[in-house]
Amino acid sequence: MDTLIELKNIDFSYSKDKKTIDNVNLGIGKGVFGLLGPNGAGKTTLMKILLGFLTPSSGYGRVLGFDIMKDRKEVRKRIGYMPESDCLMPGMDAVTLTSYLGELSGMPRQEAMKRAHEVLYYVGLEESRYRQVETYSTGMKQRLKLAQALIHDPKLLFLDEPSSGMDPKGRTEMLELIKDIGKKESMNIIISSHLLPDIEATCRHVIIMDKGKIVSQQEVHSQGIERFNRFEIRIKGNTDSFLERLKALDCQISTDDRELHSILIPKDQSSRILFKIAMETGAQIRHFVQSKATLEDTFVNAIGVNHDN
């Protein structure tokens, strides 16, 4: 079974006037996938539809070969979920909580307890595994949420903003853990995040969402997106006309606060076009560097430069 997730014409809305998920069609195979999008793009909602928490208003979906609406129990038995929100039950220590959730997943009690120690050790909570979870810092809670998602060794792991609220060191460690888990052939991961570096660091494939739709699906590093060449330029003179002309040629432009313009030119266009337009509009190119297209460029290109978020 190569296709782990298959969605066809999925719609979902929390209110009548706005669709949160709009006619999503998606096929996900084995590996580590990133679900990327600005806040409110529908990433978490899509993840919850896949988990069977939310029922789509129309469409059809299968996860690991099971219908997401009819076989929820079968789906949930095989998946692990790390929620974004703070959701740990107080009054328990980490070992008790993790093994408890393992038991709820269908693990025998003794096995769950043994495995709880292992996963807590793995995520770096070995020293504090007997501490009450309400005394944990945000970073520790994130690790514990990952541990509880791993306890029953799921085939498919859903991680919702896994590095949220973590300090830089903790974040690096979390990403290392995800990378390590992702190396296992038997484990497939879907990471929802609005942080591009997280996706870039951990995923082989990226699915970009915006306004409830899938706007792009491609490999992170192969840059199937290398439909663009990226240039960084600084201009003096008639900048506005210069940029307007580029936009008319389907170029994507973003400008930083140092007036450095990052320009994505479609592959079929040569860099000469920049100089030609500069000459025609009376602009002077003062700085010109060709650089590698990044995931950020892909993202900006997919959702548009002038996105509200």
Binding site: F53, L54, D86, L88, T96, L104, G106, L177, D180
Partner: protein, 288 residues
């Protein structure tokens, strides 16, 4: 080499499909309750009615304790004895206290900690979640009603050598504590599901359990209507127990009405809770 250095490793075991998916919630819940502050004190106190009735049954069988005979005269009728054992004021009071201390946060705690995604990302349905929560309360309620009741039957047989042995009596002996427990557990869980604030749930339960009966008594006197007692949990349980044991009714309205009310409230509560959990789950999922 440590596990962490070795990297992530797979679990070799096999996941089971348990027939009772609610069992881990139940087992974890009873352990958590037992660890609570005042739990042991409350449990010891809850044994006092049992000890009292044990002494009373013993006294009634000893000819040398003739001077107490008048006080324990009612013990000649097994129906009245066990009606009193199952629905006496102190026992009901203590059961309600258990609901307030141990049950008020059973659902509200999960609302507050927003832990529904952790439960429902497992192969667990709403009914399993609810059964687990019901089972926690039912365990402690039955431990202090059904178990002492059955032990006292045994002692009664040992001390007196006889006991009423009719199908109705046996049914009442089991049904009264079971229905009382379901009824109190239902009310406790409904109140607990109304708010994510356990203190609020506790206050609501105190009002419902301890204020309803005096209010119904006042209304009953003010309007000269015994039916008002139907709305007090204590009086309703008492009336149902007397009806089931075929003992003298405490209030002047048909006993089956209390039985019907308890059954209806319990069934209604389950459906309410089922919908409520679904709604809470959706609210939390949508981030509201």
């Amino acid at each position: 080499m440590t596990i962490r250095e070795k990297g992530y490793h797979q679990w070799e075991g096999e996941l089971q499909t348990p027939k009772t998916p609610w069992m881990p919630i139940f087992l974890s819940g009873i352990r958590m309750v037992f660890k609570r502050k005042f739990a042991k004190l409350l449990f010891i106190t809850s044994c006092l009615p049992f000890v009292f009735f044990l002494i009373v049954i013993y006294i009634s069988t000893r000819p040398e304790l003739e001077m107490f005979k008048d006080a324990v005269k009612f013990l000649t009728d097994d129906r009245m004895v066990f009606d009193s054992i199952m629905s006496n004021g102190p026992t009901i009071f203590l059961l309600m206290l258990m609901g307030i201390f141990f049950g008020s946060d059973l659902i509200s705690g999960d609302i507050q900690s927003r832990s529904f995604p952790l439960y429902f990302s497992r192969p667990l349905e709403r009914k399993d979640y609810l059964l687990g929560k019901y089972a926690i309360l039912m365990f402690y309620y039955l431990l202090f009603t059904l178990v002492p009741g059955l032990v006292l039957v045994l002692f009664k047989v040992i001390f007196t050598g006889k006991i009423l042995f009719t199908p109705r009596f046996i049914a009442a002996l089991i049904l009264t504590p079971v229905l009382t427990s379901i009824f109190l557990a239902s009310l406790t869980l409904v109140i607990s599901s109304l708010s994510g604030n356990s203190k609020y749930s506790r206050i609501m339960l105190i009002l419902l359990f301890y204020m309803a009966t005096p209010v119904t008594a006042i209304l009953s006197h003010a309007f000269s209507g015994q039916y008002f007692f139907l709305f007090g949990p204590t009086s309703t349980i008492k009336q149902m127990s007397s009806f089931l044991f075929d003992a003298k009714l405490a209030f002047k309205y048909p006993g089956w009405l209390s039985l019907a009310l308890i059954v209806l409230v319990s069934i209604g509560s389950y459906f309410f809770l089922h919908r409520r959990i679904g709604k809470l789950e959706a609210q939390i999922e949508s981030g509201n």
